[in-house]
């Protein structure tokens, strides 16, 4: 089975999407809808097949990866790009958890979406999402990655606005898409810059790597002619790295803007909390485990380029740090259980970007990997809680659910221990590793480390608050709703339990302080060379110190949470679950900034509509009026005055004769 073609992997979800879409469309007229069992089976089958093929390929993957070029895509002068796939260590690990968690969440959704009128449509979108995500990570060129990149954005839009009869959901979906579009334009411009520097061939990852390394080595064999021609024309300067590196930096910045959009980093982070309007499995799959991490994936994929432009790496670290801290603080004030998790996702993504910023791409991918398990488990757990409370999302109306839904509670508590970094759990290993790499990164290292550690404390506080408010104390909802609380069905519980296992044990793939480095060795062929480029602080610190401090941070934060909310009486909630008072505007500061931008655009549009357009219309009216007045004037010649008419006719004939004579006769 070694020769299983790569395109099989995206093909399965694509077929699934088409088949389910057709079913949804055909059955849309009927009252009852298609059989849920049949649709559910189909919708799990295709992701599972994709997962199976990834596993098969994973076992047989040669060291250097598998490359396959399918066919030509765009072929015009200046621009030639092929459709091709690249299956290497990086895409393998991404694909494994994308398809694996995708399958699990498809199973979960069968239970969660039970009885929804859009059952088949939902799964069609999920399959389309998996297709796009697989293309994103499997492609061998930036352009094809961009196809997946916008494809996942589109699916995110479709799924956030899944319950589209509520206009607020649609607005959240629109916001997600438009904010992502801003980032996508960054990606697009980045590709254009690369095309200009090295021709369209370097959109291919392999070609890009060799191009960059040739620049780094000082030899400009590839694409030198193109570049020379371009820069000679532009700056009339000679071709030196002094010019290429700044240009590459701009390209890098553009790609990073793309990443901030997709991965919800400052300044484009506002869409993710709003995206929680979608069904919870979607939040788990797209807005926690897979899609939002594609920014981190892109950084790792372009690692060879980014290590050549340290300025941008610094920007990335700072943005990551600020985002991690900001979102963690914002998470403290949320009352909606899903919003807490959303901010927590943003914060964790900040960690990954910090790691990427100090060129520790392998540990950032490792955090992507572990985060996928525990965050998906948390979201699915939250979904089960919401399901059992018949749609209630406000944590102030929950409480004491530990006894009523024990399995869900256990899953969530395990995942909670993982995210706060309790020793032995998945998050402990990956977060610890990131903090260690931050410390070692250079002169600013200790500062970054302290920032990361502080964020870890806050993480433990708000996650502790979530667990305490939801599962401990006594139930704070209404009496009649208490009777209906029930544990989720098995289709929902099984995936949760599997993910909880991941949340506990996934970290052991790279237990650095225990000397297990399987994950690092696996990723070394892809990012190892790039990571070796930048100098690291050689000062050796005992890893146990980091582990100890990390554990202390987690325990300290949990302690605060328990002290603050463990025994406190929570006032009964009224109205919306949004944060109250000043916290609302304060937390959503970036919403305010976006609001300003939107207002400016609206104002310009208003100006254009009411002013510029009116001027154009006035000019038109003016011309028409002049013509009309002239017409009226000329009409006065059309009167019954025989002499005048004859005189005019004669003058006309004379004029014609003169014209004919002057132009040399008729023909």
């Amino acid at each position: 089975m070694t020769n299983l073609p790569l395109w099989f992997i995206p093909l399965f979800p694509l077929i699934g999407c088409i088949v389910l879409g057709a079913i949804a469309l055909i059955s849309s007229g009927s009252k009852k809808g298609p059989s849920e069992g049949f649709v559910g089976a189909l919708s799990v089958l295709f992701p599972a097949l994709a997962f199976a093929s990834v596993v098969l390929l994973s076992f047989n993957m040669p060291e250097g990866g598998i490359r396959a070029t399918l066919c030509n895509w765009i072929d015009i002068p200046m621009f030639k790009v092929d459709i091709g796939f690249l299956f290497d260590a990086l895409s393998r690990i991404m694909l494994l958890f994308v398809t694996g968690i995708g399958t699990l969440i498809a199973i979960y959704s069968i239970g969660y979406m039970h009885g929804d009128r859009g059952f088949a449509r939902f799964f069609a979108y999920i399959n389309l999402f998996l297709f796009s995500m697989i293309v994103l990570v499997l492609s061998d060129s930036l352009l094809l990655t961009f196809l997946g990149w916008e494809g996942v954005g589109l699916c995110s839009y479709l799924l956030i606005g899944f319950w589209n009869h509520d206009i607020n959901n649609c607005k959240a979906a629109n916001k997600a898409f438009i904010v992502n579009r801003v980032g996508d334009i960054g990606f697009l411009l980045g590709m254009l810059i690369l095309c200009v520097v090295g021709g369209s061939t370097i959109l291919n990852y392999d070609a890009l790597t060799s191009f960059i390394s040739s620049i780094a080595a000082g030899g400009y064999a590839e694409g030198a002619d193109v570049v020379k021609a371009f820069f000679n024309a532009l700056f009339t300067g000679t071709f030196t790295p002094d010019i290429v590196v700044p240009i590459l930096s701009i390209a890098g910045l553009c790609f990073f803007i793309g990443c901030t959009g997709k991965s919800a980093q400052i300044p484009l982070l506002t869409w993710l909390p709003d995206a929680m309007a979608g069904p919870t499995p979607v939040s788990a799959l797209i807005h926690a485990a897979t899609m939002v991490t594609s920014g981190v994936y892109l950084l790792a994929r372009l690692s060879t380029m980014f290590v050549q432009i340290p300025v941008i790496l610094d920007v990335i670290t700072w943005v990551g740090l600020l985002t991690a801290f900001w979102a963690a603080v914002a998470g403290l004030f949320q009352n909606d259980i899903k919003k807490v998790l959303a901010y927590s996702t943003v914060s964790q993504l900040g960690y990954m970007f910090m790691a990427a910023g100090v060129a520790a791409f392998d540990s950032s991918i490792f955090h992507v990997f572990t985060h996928a398990f525990f965050k998906a488990a948390l979201f699915l757990g939250a979904g089960a809680v919401i399901h059992s409370l018949a749609g209630e999302q406000d944590m102030r109306k929950m409480g004491g659910l530990l006894k009523k839904t024990p399995v869900t509670a256990c899953v969530m508590i395990f995942a909670f221990l993982a995210i706060v970094g309790f020793p032995g759990f998945a998050g402990f290993w990956s977060k610890d590793l990131i903090l260690e790499r931050l410390y070692m990164s250079g002169p600013m290292g200790p500062f970054f480390y302290v920032g990361g550690l502080l964020t870890a404390v806050i993480t433990a506080v708000y996650m502790g608050r979530l667990i305490v408010l939801t599962f401990f104390g006594s139930y704070r909802g209404s009496k009649e709703s208490e009777a209906h609380i029930h544990e989720a069905p098995a289709t929902m519980l099984i995936p949760m339990v599997v993910l909880a296992f991941g949340a506990v044990f996934a970290g052991w793939l790279w237990a650095d302080s225990m000397g297990i480095k399987y994950f690092e060795e696996m990723l070394a062929p892809v990012v190892g060379a790039a990571q070796a480029v930048l100098p690291h602080n050689a000062a050796h610190v005992n890893p146990m110190v980091f582990a100890g401090l990390g554990t202390l941070a987690a325990l300290f934060g949990m302690g605060i949470a328990w002290a603050k909310w463990g025994k406190a009486r929570i006032p009964a909630a009224k109205g919306s679950s949004a944060p109250q008072g000043k916290m609302a505007t304060w937390t959503f500061f970036w919403d305010y900034v976006h609001g300003v931008v939107v207002t400016v655009v609206d104002a310009i549009a208003w100006f254009v509509d009411n002013f510029v357009d009116k001027i154009v219309q006035f000019a038109q009216w003016l011309v028409a009026s002049i013509a009309e007045i002239l017409g009226d004037g000329v009409a006065s010649f059309q009167v019954r005055k025989v002499r005048l008419q004859i005189a005019l006719s004669l003058a006309g004939v004379v004029a014609l004769v003169i014209v004919v004579l002057l132009t040399g006769g008729l023909i």
Binding site: D75, K171, V182, V196, A605, W606, V616
Partner: protein, 578 residues
């Protein structure tokens, strides 16, 4: 034969449609479908057949012009694809119109066929006068259809449309007349040569006259005054044709007439590129504000075509295929959106965005199709729109980062207004009753096919880009024949004249030719610089290395002949003739 059929047969079809019943749309629509399908098939055959041309037939002579006007058709990739858009959109428009304009479907079909013939003529004409003839002829059936089948404000809309576009091309008529009074004939090559010999001021004046006509037709800011009202008042199937095919005549004019015949004029072209970008921005902003669904679509079209024009005048190497893909993508997606909106209007009786809503729930199939097409119009990668926009962006980047950034901004804004549009029409609470005829299976599937085509072209744009060879050797040869026609006869006559001849007819002819020769002598001979300019000019326009070399060589040979003639003692020649 195919070319003749595509241009003339629609008019014949329009006449034949008169024979069908006025009252019964069913029977008349059958014949109309039959014709439309035949034309659509022919246009596919045209693309498959590659470049082809007809024999040049002398049609008539214009007073003051040197050569006759030829009825001469030539199809290259660009024109052929535009013809496909015109026939394809007409077909789908006729299908949806059956339920929309039940009353007097026959007359509607007659108008559509006349419009189709005029559009095909515009896209296939190889003679400038013929092109202009069809370019103007398009306006008449379109205006009549708007006046006859439009909405509330139809009289005003038809008037605005007709007068604006006709007045816009009036300067072009004058300029064209002057041009053919200088050139041997109206074919492209002779125009090129004639223009090369003119002083720069005159060249620019003619260029501006030509540009004006195309800018009005496209439309480019600030000449867009006619567009919003015409598109929104026209019956939706007609709007689809207007935006999908007819508005392309402007861009087509830029590519197929302006750029090949005029020497590169950097400042004018730069201005046009910025005007194109301004149009794109303006269209997007106006679409954000629009409250009328069809006006929103009209401004969206304006924005996309502005981008296309900006791409054209970036004059990069990738320009031609990029713009072609963008045009085809826009034609299909904007056409499909107008058609769908027409069906939406038929169902709900309104096109006010604030009164629509929730259609996805009431009519799920319509809703899905509407959303699908809107998403395709967003230029998601994998659709033809993306290939077009990305490559146009690439061309713009050639001019510097700023144009590309502006275009990027337009792409963001286009997402904003398109999503708002989708949300207002199909999502949210249902605000209006669905009373009219729902979307039929035939309508749905034909619009669906348009959507699928966008996906196919998005994943395999080679279907479009491979068809592109604006002028191959054969065409240039044919054109050169027409251009050389007069000097060649002159040469023969000169030889005859040298020998003692007593045929009076020849003498008369020779007299004429001497006059021509004198004109040629007065004209400044082409310098090396001119050749280089011409060369770069042609290169920008998709001529291959070989084609260019060929063309230049021919021109040089002609120059050599001319100068040889000039060197011969002119007095002796004249004496011999007398």
């Amino acid at each position: 034969m195919l070319l003749h059929l595509l241009v003339l047969a629609p008019f014949v079809a329009a006449i034949l449609m008169v024979a069908t019943s006025k009252e019964d749309p069913k029977s008349s629509s059958r014949l109309a479908f039959l014709f439309a399908i035949a034309f659509f098939g022919m246009s596919i055959a045209l693309i498959a057949g590659g470049n082809q041309s007809t024999e040049a037939i002398e049609w008539f002579r214009i007073p003051g012009a040197k050569g006759p006007v030829y009825y001469y058709l030539y199809s290259h990739g660009l024109g052929a694809w535009m013809v496909l858009l015109s026939t394809g959109l007409s077909l789908v428009a006729l299908i949806t119109a059956r339920n929309t304009t039940c009353k007097n479907y026959r007359n509607f079909a007659i108008g559509i066929f006349a419009l189709m013939g005029a559009m095909n003529g515009t896209f296939l004409a190889a003679d400038a006068v013929l092109f202009f003839f069809f370019f103007e002829a398009m306006v008449i059936p379109a205006a009549v259809l708007i006046a006859g089948f439009g909405g509330k404000d139809r009289a005003k809309a038809a008037m605005t449309f007709a007068i604006y576009t006709l007045v816009g091309s009036a300067p072009m008529m004058v300029a064209l007349w002057y041009l053919i009074s200088q050139a041997d004939s109206g074919v492209l090559l002779s125009l090129v040569i004639a223009l090369q010999n003119m002083p720069e001021g005159v060249q620019t004046a003619i260029l501006v006259c030509f540009l004006l006509a195309f800018m009005v037709k496209t439309p480019i800011f600030p000449f867009h005054g006619w567009q919003a009202i015409s598109y929104s008042e026209a019956p939706a199937p007609l709007s689809a044709i207007l935006t999908g095919a007819m508005s392309k005549a402007g861009v087509f004019g830029f590519i197929a007439w302006i750029i090949p015949i005029f020497p590169v004029n950097v400042s004018v072209y730069n201005t046009l590129m910025w005007l194109g970008l301004l149009t794109a921005l303006y269209g997007a902003l106006m679409a954000l504000r629009a409250t009328d669904a069809k006006k929103l679509l009209a401004f969206s079209s304006m924005g996309h075509l502005g981008l296309a024009v900006a791409g054209v005048f970036s004059l990069s190497e990738a320009m031609l295929p990029a713009v072609l893909v963008l045009l085809v993508a826009h034609g299909i997606s904007a056409g499909a959106q107008f058609l769908l909106m027409g069906i939406g209007e038929r169902m709900t009786g309104t096109r006010e965005l604030d009164k629509l809503g929730g259609l996805a729930r009431v009519t799920p199939v319509f809703g899905s199709l509407f959303g699908f097409v809107a998403i395709l119009a967003l230029a998601i990668p994998g659709t033809a729109g993306f290939v077009g926009e990305f490559t146009v962006l690439l061309s713009l980047w050639d001019m510097g980062p700023l144009p590309a950034l502006v275009a990027g901004l337009c792409i963001i804004l286009s997402a904003a207004y398109m999503l708002r549009f989708v949300q207002k029409v199909i999502f949210g609470e249902q605000k209006c009753e669905v009373t009219g005829t729902r979307m039929t299976a035939l309508e749905g599937s034909s619009i669906g096919i348009m959507g699928v085509l966008l996906l196919v072209f998005g994943m395999h744009p080679a279907f479009i880009t491979n068809a592109l060879h604006l002028f191959d050797d054969q065409a240039i040869e044919a054109m050169a024949k027409l251009t050389n026609a007069l000097p060649a006869t002159a040469d023969e006559v000169d030889e005859n004249g040298a020998a003692p001849s007593s045929i009076p007819g020849v003498d008369a002819e020779a007299d004429e030719n001497v006059a021509d020769d004198n004109v040629a002598d007065v004209a400044v001979p082409m310098t090396e610089e001119d050749f280089r300019q011409l060369d770069s000019n042609l290169a920008a326009n998709g001529f291959s290395e070989e084609e260019r070399a060929n063309l230049i060589a021919q021109l040089k040979a002609m120059e050599a002949e001319d100068s040889a003639e000039a060197a011969a003692p002119a007095a002796a020649e004249e004496g011999g003739n007398k």
